[in-house]
Structures are given as structure tokens and as C-alpha cells.
Symmetry: C2
């Protein structure tokens, strides 16, 4: 959402970089941040290694108001996100008392002692706050540097989602105001994308609160099918809905005027 505070998402993980898994964490966070009123400008998958991880974290901090990163918080030696974040922000990596208490309590409850690999999870950049992990053992990291909030969460989706919902959302609500978001979709058959292009251009230009984009689903030449998506945001839900509906109806009317068939038109509110 243009005009909203910028957010960057960084997902660390080799399994993502070799294409063994799809970055569902990135999409989940992107939706959450959009709904919370942020303008997501990047979703970056990067290696959890130096210098790459440090560079990406530093660049994100320069550009975004909110940086959410996932992965690299666990007890294994290649879980080094806290260290990279410390380097990226010029902080020392220190044993955080509150984080150590969290980690100790988790293991103590199972009669397990603190090994070096477990204590490692309590080292955070100086000045950071640990984010409670209600599902697993590794605390997350909340670090404020100037105007920028860094949130580092585990890569395990269940843990990441729980920590985002219970902690990150509350902080985000102090930074941005969630807008009302309505999305319309118009399915047009029989009009090539290149023919509908001038209509899309006009509809988008007359509604700065909306983002309009055609997605070709069929064969542009033989049997074109387009899914035109219109995303509108406004403080007033009634206005957001009306903008989306009117834009969709205008596109449907023009497509029919070109001999196309409207196979579907729906408007829905995006929300959790």
C-alpha cells in the first residue's frame, strides 16, 4: 500500500535457496503486514551466512520502518541470526537475562539442563528484547534502532505465526493504522490482455487508492481469460468497498463492450 510505512521481510534458509521448499512464511508475513497497514517493499530469501545476511539486514534497516526476519534462531551452530543482526546494527552480542530466564525455564520444566548450545539462544544484540515463544524454545528478537523495528522470528511456521500474533501485532498497531482493504476480481473471457490494457490504465489512473492488475489465465491469442484484480484501501470501509466495486463494474462493462464475456465478478474484504 503506497504511502504506508515501508516493511521488508527477510527469510533465511538454505532449503529455500535450493528450491526444496516454497517460501510460505514470506507470503504469510506479507499478508499480515499489509493488513496491519504497511507497504511491503521486499520479500528476500538470503543465505544465513556472512557477509550476505549482515548486508541484507543492514540494507533493510536503512530502508524500512519494520523489518521482519525468519530463521536462524535455534540451537545449532548455523543458527546465527542474532549475531548477524548485532553486526548489521553495530551492537554487541550479549547474554540477555530475560532471554536466558525464558530458555532456562523451558528446559528446566522438562528436567533438562542448560548446555552451551541452549544458552546460545539467549545471546541477543545489546538493547534487544526477547520475544516469548509459546510453542518452541528459541526466543525471538525485537530490536529498535532509530525509527526501525526489527523482529526476528523462528523459521518453523507454527512458532513464527504464534509469536507474530501474540507479540509483533501489538507493536505494529502502535506504528501504523490498519486500513480497510477490499479486493475485487473480474473474470473476463474473450478479450486479449493487450486489448484491455487501455481500460486498465484508465481505471487505475482515476482511483489512486486502488491497485489494478490483469492476470492472464488462458491463451492470449486463442482463448484469452483474464483475472483482473483490483485492491482498494481506505480508512472508511464503505468507501473502500465502493471503490473496488465501481472499478470492477467499469472494467466488466468495457470488456463486454469489446465483445468479451464476464464469467465472474466478486468483491471481498481482506481480513484475518
Amino acid at each position: 500500500l503506497a504511502g504506508s510505512p515501508p516493511a521488508w521481510i527477510i527469510n533465511f534458509g538454505n532449503e529455500l535457496l535450493i528450491g526444496r521448499i516454497v517460501n510460505t512464511n514470506g507470503a504469510w508475513l506479507a499478508r499480515e503486514l499489509t493488513l496491519a497497514g504497511f507497504d511491503v517493499r521486499r520479500i528476500i530469501v538470503a543465505p544465513d551466512e556472512e557477509p550476505d545476511a549482515v548486508e541484507v539486514l543492514r540494507e533493510a534497516g536503512r530502508r524500512a520502518r519494520v523489518v521482519v526476519c525468519t530463521g536462524g534462531l535455534g540451537p545449532t551452530p548455523d543458527d546465527r541470526t542474532a549475531e548477524f543482526l548485532a553486526k548489521a546494527t553495530g551492537r554487541r552480542l550479549v547474554l540477555n537475562d530475560e532471554a536466558l530466564r525464558m530458555v532456562r525455564e523451558k528446559y528446566a520444566s522438562m528436567g533438562m539442563e542448560l548446555t552451551e548450545d541452549r544458552v546460545k539462544m539467549a545471546y541477543l544484540p545489546e538493547g534487544a528484547k526477547p520475544i516469548p515463544n509459546p510453542v518452541g524454545t528459541a526466543p525471538g528478537i525485537h530490536l529498535v534502532v532509530g525509527d526501525t523495528h526489527y523482529f526476528c522470528l523462528p523459521g518453523v511456521p507454527r512458532e513464527m505465526e504464534a509469536m507474530f500474533k501474540e507479540y509483533v501485532r501489538r507493536v505494529l498497531a502502535t506504528i501504523a493504522k490498519p486500513p480497510c482493504l477490499f479486493e475485487a476480481s473480474v473474470i473476463v473471457e474473450g478479450v486479449p490482455e493487450s486489448s484491455l490494457a487501455p481500460v486498465i490504465k484508465r481505471v487505475a489512473k482515476s482511483r489512486p487508492e486502488c491497485y489494478v492488475k490483469s492476470h492472464p489465465k488462458g491463451d492470449e491469442l486463442r482463448s484469452p481469460v483474464l483475472d483482473v484484480r483490483i485492491l482498494c484501501h481506505h480508512d472508511d470501509c464503505g468507501v473502500a468497498e465502493r471503490l473496488a466495486r465501481e472499478a470492477a463494474e467499469e472494467i466488466a462493462r468495457d470488456a463486454e463492450g469489446m465483445g468479451g464475456r464476464v464469467a465472474g465478478l466478486r468483491v471481498e474484504r481482506l481480513r484475518d
Copy 2:
């Protein structure tokens, strides 16, 4: 794969940034590039707008031997990847004769004429080659700048995959040698990740051709389940397989020594 030529993937698209769709193109390309012998260092979702798109393309060109980008090649006004690539590489955007011929033939075959929005798809950075699109209408872009190859493909998965297989793969084969890749997976129950950490460290350290990573699937404290993945590469397939198998067996043995149960061990070759 460390030591291989670096590759960056850039996926343009607002639907990705608002979390409406998951970046499956990024994962598909990451797997293909890994199998082709490249070290994928970034998968970046970025807005198809200035200055972001230009900055990301420029940075990728400085850092990678191969840059694959998707999206923004179609006939609508916000399809501006060719323009952004021209700016990022300091080239002029010019009407490419070969691309114009491709676009004209596509539409002529259906008795459709060339409109301004259709001709737009034939404007490429000076010196670029159009990549034939066997599925849709928009040609891709192959631009060599110094040592770096840029390949820009459409965002529609069917088109992107066909163009990659028919054109990009052939060029990649002249730059890197595909290694043999074997991946082993060991499912360990009853050992917390933090207890297995020293084993992982030792196994990884003794095999520089392998990447070893534990993925927690259960509950670290109450009922830990780990999927330990070992990815090994070598020119010799026999060696790659042996490295992966021996690493997996060593981890399984040590996990059992700690009172864990090995619920599964498999070794498979990664290939198309």
C-alpha cells in the same frame, strides 16, 4: 552450492508483496538453477516500480553471474521490466526487430493487428536478444552485460517454465557444469535439536561437500522430532551418494546412542 557461480532470482509482482500468492516461481527457478550448477544467493520479491526495480536489478548484476527475473513483460502499462532493465544497465530501450517480428507473427496468425500496447512488448534494452515464448505472446529478454547474464521471463508459470527449459537452460550449460546432487533425510524422534547440535556440527565440518541442517518438526521439549537434511554435491555421482549416505548413517547412529529413535532414513538423487 558454495563455490559455484552465484545466481540471483528477482520476482516482480504486487500480488506477491501483499501475500495474495505464494512465490512458487521463485522456488521453481531456485531448484532449476541449483541443478544447473549455480549457487542461488537471493530470491527477491520486489515492486515493479521505480526506483526499487531498477536498484534491485542493478545490485543483482553487480553480484551475480546469472540473474533471472520474472514478471512485468506483458502489454499493460505497469509491465515495465524491459525499461527498468535498460535503466539498471545503462542501455537505451530500443525497438528490437526480432522481438517485433515475434510479436507481429503471433497476432497476425489470429488476424489481429499491432496496437501500441502490443508493440511495447518488442522494446528491449539495446543489445538484448528476445527469448521466444512458445506459450504466450510476450518475448523474454536475454541481456549480457560484462560477465553477467540477465534473463527476464513472464510471471505466468506455464510461459516462464517453457522459456526456461527451451532457452535459458542451454545458455546456463555454457556457464556452469551441473553437479551430481544427493540429498539424505534422517527422521529422528526423541532427541531435542539442542542435544543433536554437536553431532550436526561434527558431521558438517568433516564433509565440505555437504550442507547439513536439522528441521524441528515436533515439540523440542515434550516430543522432539527432527528431520535432518544432508545435501551433498560432487562431480562423481557415486561419491555424492556415498557422502550423503555416510553422513546420514553417522547421524542416525549417534541419535540412537542418545536414546533417540530413527523413524526414517532415505537418500535420493535430486534431478529434473
